[in-house]
């Protein structure tokens, strides 16, 4: 019997520098929430680390960030790491990454629809609705839409209208406010799913890196396998934190010549 739930894949873009338990929590919280709406069935999760071209301060090479994410997600049976974005020659706009994955997922769906006898296919029944891809993020991400030059208006529009957002609240940040303060987000608010995280867990990769520089323990904040990897490769030192110091973020440069309207229209 075909379920009328929409198959849903969640995509998280970010530095993952390094990946933390909190990143992985986002997926768990989002899945629970989307299931509880009764409208979706979450069939997959994708962690897509940003490429080195992003130019963020303290960003260690993508190959390490990918390896660590893979180690962290070894025990997950539904979230995987994807290297496509990190392998592109230049920094890739989030919307471009989404278009790529969405295209891939649709293709998989079409192929499996033609082989509906295979029970292991994600999209088991030929009559199940088209799968959707939504961007998974924390509330701080939503607030970043306001930063001049970081996002193109058209991209934000496509992101919320065509794909959709699943946003997990973080600390005292209220994503409802970001939605309220942006006409674009407000217009497509039905496609912006806000997930409340009641446990205040401010583990951030920035804090993790700081602790590592100071030789403080990060056990139980990131998986043991990732801690081991970091020590083996001597990542996250004062030197690594100074990488890209003084360099502007790639999006700001790449999008500088584009007309930028304020989002507060």
């Amino acid at each position: 019997m075909a379920s009328c739930r929409v198959p849903l894949v969640l995509l998280a873009c970010g530095s993952f520098n390094p990946i933390t338990n909190q990143h992985m929590r986002l997926f768990e919280l989002a899945r629970d929430h989307m299931h509880s709406t009764g409208r979706f069935e979450v069939v997959g999760g994708i962690v897509s680390p940003v490429s080195d071209g992003y130019g963020k301060q303290g960003l260690v090479p993508a190959k390490h960030r990918i390896s660590m994410a893979k180690l962290a997600l070894q025990s997950s049976n539904w979230v995987t790491v994807d290297e496509w974005e990190s392998q592109q020659p230049d920094w890739t706009e989030t919307v471009v990454t989404m278009r790529y994955h969405h295209g891939r997922i649709l293709k998989e769906y079409e192929q499996s629809a033609g082989r509906h006898s295979d029970a292991s296919e994600k999209f088991a029944s030929p009559s199940s609705p088209f799968p959707q891809l939504k961007l998974l993020c924390g509330a701080d991400f939503l607030s970043s839409f306001k930063i001049p030059g970081l996002w193109l208006d058209d991209h934000v529009e496509e992101l919320v209208q065509r794909f959709g957002l699943v946003c997990v609240s973080r600390g005292s940040l209220q994503p409802e406010r970001a939605v309220h303060e942006s006409d674009t987000l407000f217009r497509h608010r039905r496609n912006v799913f806000l997930v409340r995280e009641w446990v205040r867990n401010e583990t951030s990769a920035t804090e993790i890196r700081r602790a590592l520089r100071r030789d403080q323990s990060v056990k139980y904040l990131i998986p043991d396998s990732v801690i081991e990897y970091i020590h083996q490769h001597e990542l996250y030192t004062e030197d690594s934190e100074r990488r890209n110091e003084g360099t502007a973020l790639r999006p700001l440069i790449k999008q500088a010549h584009q007309p930028i309207k304020s989002l507060d229209d």
Partner: protein, 275 residues
Amino acid sequence: MENPTTSKVVLLACGSFNPITNMHLRMFELARDHLEDTGQYSVIKGIISPVGDAYKKKGLIEASHRVEMARLATESSEWITVDSWESQQSDWVETSKVIRHHYEELLAREHNRDDVDTIKYTKKRRIEENYIASSVHHRKRDGPQLMLLCGADVLESFGIPNLWKQEDIAEIVGRYGLVCVTRSGGDPHKFINQSDDLWKYRKNIHVVHEWVTNDISATHVRRALRRGRSVRYLLPESVVRYVQEHSLYSAESEQKNADVVLAPFQKYSDASTSG
């Protein structure tokens, strides 16, 4: 290699551990980093001592499960262990007694480890007696120290009437020592300031500030489980599996002891208190 100028410390955490979470484990890591950072201490061991079922806290599931989950959680730790002595006692045991028990065990082990040197042992005992006699200042001791590790909520619970005996509080902070890891929303310094007992022994109270708020409470975890929500990455993977395999934490389990009085209140409210 042991640094001869540092005191050896063992950290003891008492509590329900219902269930154990990553936050409990973080407390140990933070405390160890903090104490060793002072240059005065060398933390050699951590002990998790889950409370016995006789504590009668609402929602407290069987000690056997709680001890096993703590064991699974600390498998990957080189220095944190679980001790089931407290949980195996038929009556509820005051924290001060648990501390005393573990301190005596610690001394006994140290004694056995020393070469048969009665002079050194006698000297240690004399120093210890002198220490107990003098009440105010913290002093570096020859022998290992046992300190109670807790969150700010436990420190502040010292103020709840009939939950603790005043002489027990005095013994814990005066004779042993407290390492208090602040949880968001508490102000341990203010609380210490407002209590004469605590103020007197403030040098024995080490306040550790969590640089990252990590509010994973066992209450929240139990609530999430009741509602069929994921608790992955809040607890160690092996504990998540154990909870699932044994179907622990339901609406029913949360009602356990719902109409029963908590053991300390029962004990200290009784006319005859043996202590």
